[in-house]
């Protein structure tokens, strides 16, 4: 118990520091706009867009794993289904905050609702994840309603919050539970195509950009979906491995092993997709396709690919999850999950940035003797600070939710 308390305090100290750093970034962003950012004329998107697709991927992945239970009835994953839904909500929030701060005019985002251009993948994105946001909130509410009512009896903050979130509902009859479950099944089933559409859509958002050959690939929407499943699966696996109670029980061990197998399969799928994308482009040797990949693999940030994407994202999880001894050990399964979660930050950075550094006009960079056509991009202090702040906010909300809401992974019938 004592160790847990110490860990909790350390967590909150980290979160408070992150929020303080984020406040500085937020101040800079709001007072100076994008002036302090390091993206420019050639590399027009940077860290925030990469973090946006990272968190939106985590959200879609976590949601699809919850859908295994709610839409497809794979009951063995039920202990983590609600946590998965909660993770999807918080990740989506972090993704939307990132992309919101990336807009030149944050206050004009409503334009996408009032005057959408449905030829633009971006307009589709906004409409689809608005629908998705409403859907997961509703699904989470119906899934948790009965527990909100029960937890309303508890004293203190937990009881108050549960009463608030119950929205006046008091019914705990089995009929009501059956209704909730029916609604959740319907919402979860609608959510599956929605999640595939909006995350595949994020991939298409890059895929349709014909002016950047390295993005312009039909594989992109599928690659994004696989990435979402791997990263979301990895995150949930790590959360379950570290947070679940009753680590000695057979049920815990079975689910841990099942998650390990599922994530292992997804990592293999990711290996296949990544190999297909890279090998075909390299084989074709069209400069616009090849140059960004060469930069990814041998450029100044080679380690993001080799150590991050390949090492942490593929080799380590495959070893840890394929070997029986480590796959049954909560610590190593958790490490494998965290390793994947970390690696995908690199995957997302490599998707966004290197393809932007190779212009279609050959020789452009040499022909414009000014820093405006720089191919170098490292996020600025403002970009890092604001991102750290948003992640800190997500961690704070996650911890609050985890402590006060009925979302913990549970084994057996008891919540």
């Amino acid at each position: 118990m004592k160790a847990n308390k110490g860990l909790g305090i350390a967590y909150w100290i980290v979160v408070v520091v992150m929020l303080a750093v984020g406040a500085v970034g937020l101040y800079w962003r709001l007072t100076t706009g994008h002036k302090l950012a390091n993206y420019g004329e050639l590399i027009v998107w940077g860290l925030w867009v990469a973090m946006y697709i990272y968190f939106i991927g985590l959200s879609a992945g976590a949601f699809l794993i919850s859908a295994l239970v709610y839409a497809f009835g794979v009951e063995r994953f039920r202990p983590i289904a609600r946590l998965a839904l909660f993770t999807a909500i918080i990740s989506l929030l972090m993704a939307l905050l990132h992309i919101w701060f990336d807009l030149g005019h944050m206050e004009r985002f409503y334009e996408v609702y009032t005057r959408p251009n449905f030829l633009s993948m971006m307009a589709w994105m906004v409409w689809l994840y608005t629908a998705y946001f409403i859907l997961i909130l509703a699904e989470f509410w119906y899934e948790s309603r009965e527990d909100f009512v029960r937890w309303g009896q508890k004293p203190g903050l937990t009881g108050w919050l549960s009463r608030l979130l119950a929205l006046g509902s008091k019914d705990v009859t089995p009929e009501m539970r059956a209704r909730d479950q029916r609604v959740v099944k319907v919402l979860g089933s609608i959510g599956v195509p929605l999640a595939i559409m909006f995350h595949g859509g994020v991939g298409a958002l890059f895929g349709v950009v014909s002016a950047r050959p390295a993005w312009h690939s039909g594989l992109f929407p599928l690659l994004f979906l696989v990435s979402a499943l791997v990263s979301g699966g990895g995150l949930l696996m790590a959360l379950y491995a570290f947070l679940a109670p009753n680590k000695g029980s057979a049920e815990y061990k079975n689910l841990l092993s099942d998650m390990g197998r599922l994530v292992l399969a997804l990592v293999f799928l990711d290996v296949i997709f990544t190999f297909a994308e890279y090998s075909i482009a390299l084989y074709g040797s069209i400069p616009g396709d090849v140059a960004p990949l060469i930069q990814i693999m041998t450029g100044p940030f080679w380690y993001v690919f080799w150590i991050g994407q390949v090492g942490l994202g593929m080799v380590i999880p495959i070893i840890l999850l394929a070997w029986d001894r480590t796959r049954t050990n909560p610590f190593w399964v958790g490490v494998a999950g965290l390793s994947i979660v970390l690696a995908f930050v690199g995957v997302r950075l490599n998707i966004v940035i290197p393809p932007l550094s190779v212009p279609e006009l050959q020789g452009l960079v040499e022909a414009v003797p000014s820093p405006r056509m720089t191919t170098q991009y490292v996020p600025s202090a403002m970009e890092w600070f604001l991102s750290i702040g948003i992640i800190g906010l997500g961690m704070a909300l996650y911890a609050i939710g985890y402590n006060l809401l009925p979302v913990r992974p549970h084994l057996g019938k008891e919540v």
Binding site: G33, H34, K35, G40, E41, L42, V44, W45, D102, L103, G104, H105, R108, F109, E111, V112, R115, P116, N117, L119, S120, M121, M122, A123, M125, V126, L205, V208, V209, S210, A211, R212, L356, P359, E360, L361, G363, L364, E366, A367, V368, P369, S370, P371, R372, M373, T374
Partner: protein
Amino acid sequence: MSRQNGGTQEHRWAMIVDIDKCTGCGVCITACYAENNIPVVGEEEIHKGRHMGWVRIERYWEGEYPDIRARFIPIMCQQCGEAPCEPVCPVFATYHSETENINVQVYNRCVGTRFCANNCPYIARVFNWFDPVFPEPLHEQLNPDVTVRSRGIMEKCTFCIQRIRQVEEEAKAEGRPIEDGEVQPACVQACPTEALVFGDLNDPHSKVARLAQSRRAFKLLEDLGTEPAVIYLKGGDAHVV
């Protein structure tokens, strides 16, 4: 239907850039700054790559030292007939103007996603990083026909649409057709070597229509199918008109 050949539109405004005549002097850039209220950002911001100019002059070297020659290519928005920037904008902030038949940008609608800049193969779009200040007496030189843009939006060459509209309205009021050479964007007007020529491609007798038939004529990244309205004339040894 290809917009390049005019379609049903009355005009197809186009610009000829004769590379052979361009000396890289940069007057077009200066004229564009003055005409379009483009803010001057200062040395420090220039070092960060925060130019706001709508025209840039690319300089290519030919040959080996000491026998080298520089070639200059002014590049601005190519006013594509099939503009890749248009469909990606989520809010129609950039779209094809059916009346002027060019690619226009609505500043007060732009959300600043920078998606259009990603999809422009010519890197012709400029993000506005600043809340521009024109301290007294500099504000006196602002062009009242052109909006002073705020930070956080995309902007780019408009072919000086304010000048096109002015001539169109004058001609309409006087009940006469627009004469060839009557519309002159600021850069064309300022170019000392007449490397830039502006006019209506739909008028077969216009200077641009004749020059566009030249064997020296080419378009940037033509194979992408963007159908630019800026037509370049090759320089150097390919000197045949």
